[in-house]
């Protein structure tokens, strides 16, 4: 190679290297520029990022993008909080500790339902895609999902929230992705059932019962906007389609059987067994699976007809349970029909449950735990098993059937409000004994009551006024007076509310009663002032006012005689007050009884409480008796007036008997002749009939009705128990907290507080001092108390026997009650005798009142 060439080569090489170096430098410069730009961006980013209010720096990697869904921020928190003082909190301007009490501590297992227990557990619905089938769903999976949704519905009726019951079903959260439209519609109608139940409960009188039902949606959609009338026709179409297909399938089966028989005959003739068997085999292989409405059926597990039947009963069940809830009150027969059909379909569901897949995919109760909105921390729950869910529905079905029948068996169309009250309260007491489901109780108030009053009955306002008339014995026209009418209208609401408290559970019923008593007190006062008005009117009418005024200067003896006058009794009778007292005493008794049923009273209170209860029964019984007496007096008064008018009307015709014989005569009167004798006879017979009636009235007053007998029986048992517990207290068998040094409230105070709300409506002057005086407390001996108690129990037993003699006239519940009370009386008598003997022998013992037999009247066991 020449020097020139080598030199030239060297030069080009050098140039290339220079160029390379230049490029490198350029790249370096570019990199530098990039770095500068990056630094600038970082600076800008740093400028936009919030400044730390603290002196220490925030860790630099905090603003990097998180690698996983969960980021450990312990370092950040410890840095940020290191400068805080003990107890100091960082919060927004609006910060109320009171409201934050319900917020759960994140990460605390007792409160935070979202705490991980197992890293393999699902915690978000987003993770579930691919883990359960949405397309080409197998038949057993479809049936399993349907049955599990039924279990979710029943769990919802048990008072669990929608998020952990219905929305534990992934299919409900991926409705649009479900290939099988039938399953989609099934999911929708099952959710709609819950939506309708929620509406029913919220509009009923028991809407306050949050302890038994969670009405809040917790951020989940009840699909209230979806009209049930859009879903039902779709379900009906599927129902018809499946029924049609089932029919056709049965037809085909029959046809196939016939063909097979013919083939068999041919086989015998043609001897083509093997070929036919092969054909059959191939046919069977073809029929091992089938796709129906986008559901894959494995015919080796379930035949086609059975699958159709299984689908059909589930669809019809969901349809019916929605339909009967939508039925109007006036169509109770439809309600009953749909309900019965649903119970029938449930039996088919139970028999076909075996075809469901064992472990249903697509359900997990904790799936929504991180999404559920506050306020309450959500606890972990489990859906009811299929067996328990069916049991629950059957129980609810029975309860609802009882409700359907009630309007027929109860005579609500009578105008007798008291009778209606008695019927309904007896019915509800029996109904509530078995702790019915909240759905059944919601339907009570919706079936039986509306704005006007009772189902199928008279308007409540009319009933109230009619009852005031019955108690008043004045002209009905007087009751059109404005103040009376206004009272009638005003009383409608509280009387309806008294009934509606019967639909609540016991605890809430008692609380509601207590609230109602406060308002009722005002009505009682108003009623009393109206009574004065009525009395004056009545006295004016029968001219008694003048009589009294004339008699005032005379001695009290003559005034006392005046007071015996039946007319005065009637006139001074206070109709509205006595009618309201009847209602008041009934609800007061109910309130006190509920205290025993809920086990609110302590043993040391029993003496005073039973004493008060015995007085309430006495008031009730006496007020009934007083009204009965007044009613009877009024009837007698009218009969006497009738007698007077009959006598006056025939005064001119009064002749000695000789005239009668002659049939003629020149008597004083006119109208003589043959008819006169006969008219005297009719007169006499009429008068004798009236006298008989007057006598009967007297007998009627003496007789006690069954209702009054029961009241008397309860009153005697209460009296007996009062004496019993006072006896035990005197001996020292009952611990009295008042006797301890550290006791805050005296028994007197406790007693006064216990009866405070009832005292407002009973308006009696019963207090603790009266209790002490009436029972001679502090002076009477234990022996005398024992004696009194045994005597009272004996009297109670007599009344019980009297009622037992008329057992055919009693209802089933009354018969049961009577038997139980008999046992209570007998057991207590024996216990008292034993206790009395042991006391006389100075033996020590303890007592235990037990409410196993009767919720209000205990049996006392002596140990």
């Amino acid at each position: 190679m020449s020097k020139k060439n080598t030199d030239q080569n060297q030069e080009t090489h050098q140039e290339k290297e220079i160029e390379k170096e230049k490029e490198k430098e350029k790249e370096k410069e570019k990199e530098k520029e990039k770095e500068k730009e990056n630094q600038k961006e970082e600076k800008i980013e740093k400028k936009e990022q919030p400044k730390s209010p603290f002196n220490k720096e925030i860790p630099s990697d905090i603003f990097d993008e998180p690698k996983e869904n969960w980021e450990d921020i312990s370092k950040v928190l410890s840095t940020a909080t290191s400068e805080l003082k003990i107890g100091q909190m960082v919060h927004k301007e609006i910060f109320i500790l009171d409201m934050l009490m319900t917020v759960p501590d994140i990460g605390v297992t007792k409160m935070d339902a979202g705490v991980f227990r197992d890293p393999n557990e699902l915690y978000s619905i987003d993770q579930t895609l691919g883990k359960f089938p949405l397309e080409k769903i197998e038949a057993d999976q479809v049936l399993g999902v349907m049955d599990k949704l039924f279990c979710a519905q029943m769990t919802y009726l048990m008072g669990e929230n929608i998020a952990q019951t219905m929305y534990s079903c992934f299919y409900l959260q991926y409705l649009d992705k479900i290939e099988c439209d039938l399953l989609k519609q099934f999911c929708l109608i099952s959710l709609k059932f819950c939506s309708i139940v929620r509406t029913l409960i919220l509009t009923s009188s028991i809407h306050q019962e949050g302890e038994y039902f969670i009405a809040t949606n917790l951020g989940y959609n009840y699909m209230d906007e979806l009209d049930v009338n859009q879903i039902l026709p779709i379900i009906t179409r599927y129902e018809k389609r499946i029924k049609k297909d089932l029919k056709e399938s049965k037809k085909k089966e029959k046809e196939n059987e016939k063909e097979n028989e013919k083939k068999k005959e041919k086989e015998k003739e043609n001897q083509k067994d093997k070929e036919n068997e092969n054909e059959k085999k191939s046919e069977k292989e073809k029929e091992n699976s089938k796709v129906y409405l986008d559901i894959s059926i494995d015919l080796t597990k379930i035949d086609f007809q059975t699958f159709l039947k299984s689908l059909l009963c589930r669809i019809i069940f969901q349809k019916r349970i929605v339909q009967y809830l939508l039925v109007k009150k006036t169509q109770l027969s439809n309600f009953k029909q749909f309900l019965n059909e649903s119970l029938m379909q449930l039996q088919s569901i139970i028999s076909t449950n075996k075809y469901c897949i064992k472990n249903v995919l697509g359900f997990y109760t904790d799936i929504n735990r991180r999404k559920i909105s506050p306020p309450a921390p959500i606890k972990k729950i489990e859906l009811l098993t299929f067996e328990k869910a069916t049991e629950l529905y059957q129980q609810i079905g029975k309860e609802l059937l009882v409700l359907c029948e009630a309007p027929k068996t109860l005579n609500l169309k009578t105008k007798n409000l008291k009778f209606n009250r008695l019927q309904l309260s007896t019915f509800f007491d029996e109904f509530n004994k078995k702790s019915p489901n909240i759905l059944s109780r919601a339907l009570i108030s919706l079936i039986f009551f509306d704005e006007d009053g009772f189902y199928g009955g008279n308007k409540l306002r009319e009933l109230i006024m009619d009852n005031v008339v019955n108690y008043s014995f004045v002209d009905k026209s007087f009751l059109n007076e404005k103040p009376i009418k206004q009272l009638g209208e005003a009383l409608e609401e509280p009387i309806l509310k008294f009934f509606l408290t019967l639909c609540n559970n016991r605890g809430r019923s008692r609380r509601n009663l207590s609230n109602l008593f406060e308002n009722w007190e005002i009505y009682v006062q108003h009623g009393t002032s109206l009574d004065h008005m009525i009395i004056l009117k009545k006295m004016e009418k029968i001219g008694l006012f003048e009589k009294i005024v004339r008699n005032i200067p005379k001695s009290t003896q003559s005034n006392r005689n005046l007071l015996d006058n039946a007319q005065l009794k009637i006139a001074l009778h206070r109709p509205i007050s006595s009618w309201m007292l009847d209602i008041s005493s009934e609800y007061a008794i109910r309130y006190i009884k509920s205290g025993f049923e809920l086990d609110l009273f302590s043993t040391f209170e029993y003496g005073s409480i039973y004493w008060y209860l015995s007085y309430l029964y006495l008031i009730k019984w006496q007020s009934n008796q007083a009204v009965k007496t007044i009613q009877s007096e009024y009837r007698k008064y009218e009969l006497r007036n009738e007698m007077k008018s009959i006598k006056k009307g025939h005064d001119f015709n009064t002749q000695p008997s000789s005239n009668k014989r002659k049939g003629k005569g020149k008597g004083k009167g006119k109208g003589k002749g043959k008819g006169k004798g006969r008219s005297k006879q009719t007169q006499k017979s009429k008068l004798s009939q009236i006298r008989k009636k007057i006598k009967q009235e007297g007998n009627l007053i003496q007789e006690r009705t069954t209702e009054n007998n029961f009241k008397f029986l309860y009153q005697l048992i209460s009296t007996a128990l009062t004496s019993s517990f006072l006896a035990f207290e005197t001996i020292g068998a009952i611990t009295i907290p008042e006797n301890s040094k550290i006791h805050f409230a005296s028994r007197e105070k406790i007693f006064q507080r216990r009866i405070a709300s009832v005292s407002k409506i009973i308006n009696s002057a019963l207090d603790y001092q009266k209790f002490k005086k009436a029972n001679n407390i502090g002076k009477a001996s234990a022996e005398s108390f024992f004696k009194q108690a045994i005597t009272a129990f004996d009297q109670a037993l007599n009344i019980q026997k009297k009622l037992q003699q008329k057992v055919s006239q009693l209802s089933e519940n009354e018969k049961l009650e009577l038997n139980v009370l008999k046992k209570v009386i007998f057991t207590n008598k024996i216990s008292l005798k034993l206790a009395s003997d042991m006391h006389s022998q100075n033996k020590k013992y303890t007592i235990e009142p037990r409410f196993d037999l009767h919720k209000v009247f205990p049996t006392i066991s002596v140990k």
């Binding site: 003990i86 107890g87 909190m89 500790l97 009171d98 934050l100 009490m101 917020v103 759960p104 501590d105 605390v108 007792k110 409160m111 008072g159 302890e211 038994y212 921390p377 606890k379 559970n505 016991r506 605890g507 008692r510 609380r511 809920l598 086990d599 609110l600 009273f601 302590s602 209170e605 907290p737 008042e738 301890s740 550290i742 006791h743 805050f744 409230a745 005296s746 105070k749 406790i750 507080r753 216990r754």
Partner: protein, 157 residues
């Protein structure tokens, strides 16, 4: 097992500050079935410090009572939120003394009633309060997270 100690060694003090919070929460968490967040404790101890008391033994908190008071209808009403005593120190009347302390404090602020809730099954707690004159006034079904019901107890002071 309950320790044998001289009751005179137990000192009853008003709640001081947040420094005691951890220990108090520890006692309550071990004794009570219902979980409470720290905000619940702060709600009581910040506004009603004078109604909250601790029982101390050798400088250590062994029991605590958390209370508050507010207007209820016509009266001022006290409320006992929580009461707990360390397992080792039970059956020495410590709980009773804590309740007495808090009720005396409530009296000074003109409370006319004191109420609390207790589990239906918790007979020992009920017995403690009955001795002091509390009575059952309401039954509250499904009151606790566990589904258990409660009684509302009340005393008129």
């Amino acid at each position: 097992m309950s320790k044998t100690i001289d009751p005179k060694e137990i000192i009853y003090e008003q709640f001081k500050d947040e420094s005691q919070m951890d220990r108090i929460m520890e006692i309550f968490a071990s004794v009570l079935s219902e979980p409470y967040s720290i905000f619940t404790y702060r709600h009581f101890t910040i506004d009603w410090k004078h109604l909250c008391f601790n029982a101390m033994h050798n400088g250590k908190i062994i029991g605590s009572i958390i209370c508050k008071a507010k207007q209820h209808k016509k009266h001022f009403r006290g409320y006992i939120g929580m009461l707990a005593v360390d397992d080792e120190y039970r059956r020495k009347g410590i709980a009773t003394k804590l309740v007495l302390k808090s009720i005396e404090a409530m009296k000074t602020i003109q409370c006319k009633q004191v109420v609390l809730e207790t589990e239906i099954k918790n007979k020992s707690a009920q017995a403690l309060y009955f001795r002091l004159g509390f009575v059952k006034t309401k039954r509250l079904d499904n009151y606790y997270l566990s589904g258990e019901g409660a009684y509302r107890l009340k005393v008129w002071i």
